[in-house]
């Protein structure tokens, strides 16, 4: 007989084991789904998870997709660790892309080393401005940041839509909904000839290191940690709890904005309707799969990035819609939440007596 018992204390080993378990269960469930659809499960999973990254190009694509996911998730980890539920990173990414794209367009016919830093900075500021809206509404008017940040996603997408078909559309672009190409000086440099992986990956790595340092080594990080656990304690210790809330939103917005910069100045090189395939939402899964820990987030962003690639390969080779990728992302989150049950409960096997 199996009995479920509450654990005396959440297990540290299980804390890092459940993400692995979740991925494993996702693979099994994915295999079953493929089987029902009439594919050979093993082969299908191979197409989904191994074929896409089997060559140099595939690996570069993996890093390309993982970069924005990692960057956004690092930013979100600041919010989530302090109990601020910013789920509007997609909007902050879009708005960051709009601002940095706008700046890049100002310089479209100019060259110079000074342009790229300005464009990058503009993206971060754009993301911060956009994230400050739910933060300020939450701290001063008690609104719910989940609703506000989510709804602002759609607002930003509509703004982008308006700009690329209206005032910012390419005058020589035959009315396609896109802007001019940015000048080369406004583009993040490619790292290798023939591959799309670009310097944005260094932004992500820098974010990982900085976030680890800030959160675990500085007084600021300590104050954020305390404020996240208990605002009452923060108040008692004399920390400025409201400022902490706004700060984590700003950090998170800046990271999402930078991810937006990476998208438009990296592979795309212009603003168009779809700057991001929902990286901002998927990064929420990445943040939790990575246990909100900087190193965990690196691994999680790689795992989740595969689902984007796998979906494309599967569409090409197996004629499965690429939305299967989202099914896999959903399953990962589902199984992660489900296996988190093991954090607080354990199974006890009781031998039946005869």
């Amino acid at each position: 007989m199996i009995k479920i018992v509450k654990r005396d204390q959440p297990s540290k080993a299980i804390f890092f084991f459940t993400p692995v378990l979740a991925i494993f269960l996702t693979l099994i469930a994915g295999g079953i789904i493929f089987y029902i659809l009439g594919f050979k499960p093993i082969e299908a999973l191979k197409f989904f998870f191994i074929v896409p990254i089997a060559d140099k190009y595939g690996f570069s694509e993996l890093l390309l997709k993982a970069t924005p996911l990692c960057l956004i998730a690092i930013g979100l980890s600041f919010c989530f660790k302090s109990n601020n539920w910013n789920i509007g990173a997609e909007g902050q990414l879009t708005f960051g892309a709009i601002v940095s794209g706008g700046v890049a367009l100002l310089f479209y016919d100019q060259e110079g080393l000074y342009i790229l830093p300005i464009v990058i900075l503009a993206g971060a500021i754009g993301g911060m401005i956009y994230a400050s809206i739910p933060a300020i509404l939450k701290t001063y008017f008690n609104t719910n940041e989940i609703l506000v940040s989510l709804m602002l996603v759609y607002v930003s997408k509509l703004i982008l839509d308006y700009l690329v078909v209206g005032p910012w559309s390419n005058p020589e672009g035959f009315n396609f909904p896109e802007t001019r190409q940015f000048s080369d000086s406004a583009r993040l440099p490619l790292l290798f000839e023939g591959l799309r992986i670009h310097a944005g990956i260094f932004l992500a790595l820098a974010a990982v290191i900085i976030s680890w340092f800030v959160f675990y080594k500085t007084y600021l990080g300590f104050q954020m940690k305390v404020s996240g656990f208990s605002l009452k304690t923060a108040k008692y210790a004399g920390y400025k709890g409201k400022k902490m809330i706004i700060l984590v939103f700003l950090i998170s917005g800046a990271c999402a904005g930078l991810a937006g910069v990476g998208e438009i100045t990296g592979p795309i090189g212009q603003l168009h309707r779809e700057v991001s395939p929902d990286y901002g939402f998927t990064a929420i899964i990445v943040a939790f799969l990575g246990r909100l820990h900087p190193v965990g987030i690196i691994f999680a962003s790689l795992v989740v990035a595969i689902t984007y690639l796998g979906a494309e390969t599967a569409q090409i080779f197996m004629q499965i819609p690429k939305y299967t990728g989202q099914v896999f992302q959903g399953m990962i989150l589902f199984f992660l939440l489900a296996s988190d049950y093991l954090l607080f409960f354990k199974f006890k096997f009781i031998g039946s007596k005869k």
């Binding site: 204390q9 080594k217 500085t218 007084y219 600021l220 990080g221 300590f222 940690k225 305390v226 656990f229 208990s230 009452k232 304690t233 108040k235 008692y236 210790a237 004399g238 920390y239």
Partner: protein, 496 residues
């Protein structure tokens, strides 16, 4: 139709605390019964047992001689026991009628008719179509009462019903309760307010520390006798030896006011007092009379007028807790697990919550972990915290050890003034003694203490001066030698 409710030998033990110790009581309809006691006397546990929320470890309940099994609140409802809790269980955004129909199995029309009859009979006027959030506290309570009356209860239990009511609403409530009683509903009225007991009830049962102290007719009692029973006479004799109190003033509070936006908080009205070095000022009162607000105002969690607090000749009313610590104040809040410490963080991280500039825990914005750890080890050894692992999460410390850690954290920097709020709440005897000894010791070192506590025993033992807070107002400051538990009891209940 007579109702007889009998509870016999009820015992309920929580870890570290006997909430009800062999309590037996008998109630008959036609009378209003008061259940009187201080916070933590065991009233609420008894009421929760009667309403099926808590299941007793031992003992039986009989309704009209039939044994009653109350395993859930719905069992209580089925057996015609109605209950109005101190905090309302209403959906704020739904209308009054929607709130009433939710847990009723009657048809819409029937229910409406029934409610109309009840309202007419008892002269209630509540608009049924208005959302509950637009109602006053008194009206919300009427909705709760109507909800009970719909089921035509035999027993109606009211848990501290007047704590949120105005004087006017209170007298209306009393009229209704008397009417219910005349109609044969057995009424049990839980309170710690002596005046109300005298006004309303026929019989009174007093509880103290989980035990039933006395049951008596109201005619044989007066406010003084009840106060004595409630607080307990046996406690007033233990007192601290008065030594070396200087006449040098340390802190002076002048015309301090606080008006809260939150209806569940208490406003503070014209607080004035001063305290000399080496003295302990005890502030007594029944919880919820403004103690928590007073603590926050004194600690700087609530910032007030700069001139209202003078500490060591500095005006500090507008400083936050961290800034006040620099002036050598220290604070130990009531809530150990949610405010004074963070259970999920390690012991040494909790130590870093009390951070002086001179402690150098954080240099140039960076955490100086070795400094904090060194400091933590010192606290642990000096204040007998029973662990040697400062990386341990503080949730694994017992309440007593955690409180020692907190008090130690606040005292190791030798502050001039310690403000503590219920420092021994929920602790075992050993830990209580240790904390008391520590507090007496720092008084002897010519440091001052403001002790806000709901434990009269503790206050009489430690204080040099005592004041009582009632509805956000402080009474006159009295010398502890002149205070009797009787007097405290009266002041706590709002008497003079």
């Amino acid at each position: 139709m007579n109702t007889n409710l009998k509870i016999s030998n009820i015992t309920k033990i929580y870890p570290g605390c006997v909430a009800n110790n062999d309590v037996s009581l008998e109630f008959n309809s036609g009378k209003i019964y008061a259940l009187l006691g201080e916070n933590g006397a065991g009233k609420s546990t008894l009421v929760k047992i009667l309403s099926g929320v808590v299941i007793p470890d031992e003992g039986k309940i009989y309704l009209n001689k039939n044994i009653l099994k109350l395993n859930s609140p719905s069992d209580a409802k089925k057996n015609d026991i109605g209950m109005v809790f101190q905090h309302f269980n209403l959906f704020e955004t739904l209308s009054v009628f929607e709130n009433l129909i939710i847990d009723s199995d009657e048809q819409r029309e029937n229910l409406k008719e029934k409610i109309d009859t009840i309202m007419k009979k008892y002269n209630f006027s509540v608009d049924l179509d208005v959302p509950v959030l637009n109602l006053s506290a008194g009206q919300k309570q009427k909705v709760e009462i109507i909800r009970c009356l719909i089921r035509s209860p035999k027993v109606l239990i009211m848990d501290e019903p007047t704590s949120v009511l105005t004087e006017q609403e209170t007298s209306e409530l009393f009229l209704s309760l008397k009417k219910f009683s005349e109609e044969g509903i057995l009424i049990i009225y839980i309170t710690h307010k002596l005046k109300e007991v005298m006004q309303l009830c026929d019989e009174v049962a007093v509880m103290r520390r989980g035990k039933l102290v006395s049951v008596s007719q109201i005619n044989n009692e007066n406010i003084e006798s009840l106060a004595n029973k409630m607080v307990g006479q046996d406690l007033k004799t233990i007192k601290k030896k008065k030594e070396n109190t200087s006449s040098e003033q340390l802190i002076k509070i002048t015309n301090l006011n606080f008006t809260s936006e939150d209806p569940f908080e208490t406003n503070l009205v014209d607080i004035n007092f001063s305290l000399n070095r080496g003295e302990c000022l005890g502030i007594a009162g029944i919880s919820g009379n403004g103690q928590s607000e007073l603590f926050q105002v004194l600690s700087g969690e609530i910032i007030s007028n700069k001139n209202s607090i003078e500490f060591n000749k500095n005006l500090i009313g507008d400083l936050n807790p961290q800034e006040r610590r620099e002036y050598l104040m220290a604070f130990s809040p009531e809530d150990r697990l949610e405010q004074a410490a963070i259970p999920q963080m390690a012991i040494f991280e909790n130590v870093a919550l009390n951070n002086f500039k001179s402690s150098n825990f954080f240099n140039n914005g960076l955490i100086n972990e070795s400094k904090i750890k060194e400091h933590s080890k010192k606290i642990i050894s000096e204040f007998n915290v029973n662990t040697d692992n400062i990386d341990l999460k503080s949730q694994f410390l017992s309440g007593g050890n955690l409180q020692k850690l907190i008090i130690g954290r606040e005292l190791i920097t030798s502050p001039d003034l310690l403000i503590c709020f219920n420092p021994t709440w929920g602790l075992d005897v050993g830990a209580i003694n240790y904390i008391h000894e520590t507090l007496i010791k720092i008084n002897e070192q010519n440091k001052s203490i403001i002790l806000i506590s709901t434990d009269t025993d503790e206050l009489l033992k430690l204080s040099d001066k005592i004041s009582v807070i009632h509805r956000g107002k402080l009474s006159k400051i009295m010398n502890a030698e002149d205070v009797t538990s009787e007097k405290l009891g009266i002041l706590m209940g709002g008497g003079n």
